[in-house]
């Protein structure tokens, strides 16, 4: 078995991390199953019985709201392994397997087996594998680790990003709808996570976008081409989380939405009422987060993105607009429209990122080697709280990701029993 520690150094990593199928298999257990993985938002399953289908790594799970809270169950019958639930979403009080009719309640307990006279197995041992679940501001995380660290410990300095997204709503909550867009990348999942907290590529990969739009706000800053001018920053938040921050380029409220500050008076009023004038103004000025939360969540400003690994060379990037609860329709419409620019297979931005990721993967598969991640090492600025900040184009976020990845892959906490 490959020694992962030999493949990851401070400023360089080896390409097989992206292309070796054996490493991918290990990641599904060590990076995904053993850690806190984002599986959904409370607003997606508001009523008892509501469920959505998600994955933890490549393991299919059912995320369902019960009378007592939210359960995450392995979507696999304990009898002969059938997929228990095929529809992407719905409402059920029980999950009946379509193979032999075994029925599980929403806690995963086996409650009914047809033609019971022939049964010999002990029902209580045939319950569905169940994850530990914790929520923060309605963002639901799950893990199969036997003794997980508290979610807040995992989130660490990424917690402020969930706050930043939620606080844009007068009710303090985001709202995720039913429709997701799924963008297929024929490349490794880590190429997506790296791209999403990378500022260096923007001038080049998104050159056509820069030329096509009327530049304003953050784009005016980061597409200026002058290294000294670029004011946006990158951060390694620790625990594998990373972000780009454009707040310093926004000089007035709502410039992140590309509108004048007084464009949505109803929204401004609702926010002032909820937070007080001073705080509301600052929330509306600083705008939404652009934060990657290890290993699979990306708060993409006006969209929520989930990274779903399929196999070593295939990944699906899901996204939905990050709507704001109790905000006027006009602002949610604007958020929807803004999200369409950035995310999705036909978007102005990510459609081109997938091409790069696919070319990268193909090139590395055929031509393995060491990859350089040294950019900005000489000028990054560690803060007192452990967060490391640097110039928008520096590889600080990449180094942070790999540092955490290495520590996770080379330690071995237990998994909950299957």
């Amino acid at each position: 078995m490959t020694d992962i520690a030999n493949l990851i150094h401070d400023t360089r990593v080896y390409s097989s991390l992206y292309t070796d199928p054996d490493i991918f298999v290990r990641e599904m257990t060590e990076i995904f199953a053993r850690n806190w993985v984002y599986v959904g938002h409370a607003s997606e399953i508001p009523e008892r019985g509501d469920y959505v289908r998600r994955t933890i790594g490549t393991e299919p799970v059912i995320v369902t709201r019960t009378a007592d809270g939210i359960n995450v169950l392995a979507n696999r019958c304990t009898h002969r392994g059938n997929l228990l639930c095929q529809p992407e979403r719905g409402k059920r009080r029980a999950f009946a397997c379509q193979y032999h009719g075994w029925v599980f309640n929403p806690s995963g307990e086996l409650v009914d087996t047809p033609f019971p006279a022939g049964g010999t197995a002990d029902r209580s041992s045939l319950h569905l594998r169940r994850a530990t679940v914790e929520q923060y501001r309605g963002f639901i995380f799950a893990t199969f680790a036997e003794h997980p660290i508290p979610l807040l410990e995992h989130l660490g300095h990424a917690r402020q990003a969930l706050d930043r997204a939620s606080d844009l709503s007068p009710a303090g909550e985001v709202s995720i709808g039913r429709t997701w867009i799924r963008h297929l990348f024929q490349s490794n999942w880590k190429m997506l996570s790296e791209n999403e907290a990378d500022g260096y590529h923007v001038n080049f990969v998104h050159d056509s976008f820069a030329k096509a739009i009327k530049r304003q706000a953050k784009y005016d800053n980061v597409l200026s081409g002058d290294e000294q001018q670029v004011a946006a920053v990158v951060r390694d938040l620790g625990n594998g989380h990373a972000e780009l921050d454009y707040a310093v380029t926004y000089d007035r409220p709502l410039s992140w939405l590309g509108v004048k500050s007084d464009r949505y008076p109803e929204y401004t009023d609702a926010m002032t009422k909820a937070y007080g004038a001073e705080r509301a103004t600052e929330i509306m000025r600083a705008g939404p987060p652009h934060t990657f939360i290890f290993p699979n969540l990306f708060l993409a400003e006006t969209c929520l993105v989930m990274i779903e690994p399929i196999n070593v060379g295939q990944t699906v990037n899901w996204h939905a607009p990050l709507l704001l609860k109790d905000a006027p329709d006009s602002i949610n419409q604007r958020i929807l429209r803004q999200g369409e620019v950035a995310m999705g297979p036909s978007s102005f931005l990510t459609a081109d990122d997938s091409i790069i990721a696919e070319r990268q993967w193909r090139a590395l598969r055929g031509s393995p080697g060491w990859l350089d991640l040294s950019r900005g090492l000489h000028r990054e600025r560690p803060r007192n709280d452990g967060v490391i900040e640097s110039h928008y184009t520096d590889e600080t976020p990449n180094r942070g990701f790999w540092h955490h990845y290495k520590s996770v892959m080379t330690s071995a906490p237990a998994l909950a029993a299957a």
Partner: protein, 112 residues
């Protein structure tokens, strides 16, 4: 063994809706499910005749109750099974309404 009919108050009329059944647990016997259809009240056994499901967890539609386990159905008024895999008739109970209280006549079996 003698069987006597006992009138048991199960709920208030205001507790029942047309959209869902109400499960009522009674001592020393299996639970009962109460329904309201267009202003009239009905009662059946709550436990499905096909498996261990509580019919009160199921869906009411077109005068039928759909079991949450395997989606079989019964006619609420008569207890007759109307959709496979339910095939054994569900026991029904006469319902009496007095004021805003709903009563059911239950046969209480007592040792001889």
């Amino acid at each position: 063994m003698t069987a006597t009919l006992t009138r048991v108050r199960v709920c208030a009329t205001g507790e029942l809706s047309d959209q869902a059944a109400l499960r009522v647990d009674l001592p020393n016997r299996p639970p009962i499910a109460l329904f309201r259809l267009a202003g009239e009240f009905f009662a059946t056994d709550d436990t499905c005749t096909h498996g261990a499901a509580s019919l009160a967890d199921g869906f009411v539609e077109d005068g039928q109750i759909e079991c949450p386990f395997h989606s079989g159905r019964f006619d609420i008024r008569t207890g007759e099974p109307t959709l496979h895999p339910c095939i054994v008739k569900l026991r029904t109970y006469p319902v009496i309404v007095e004021g805003d209280s709903v009563f059911v006549d239950i046969a209480q079996e007592t040792a001889a």
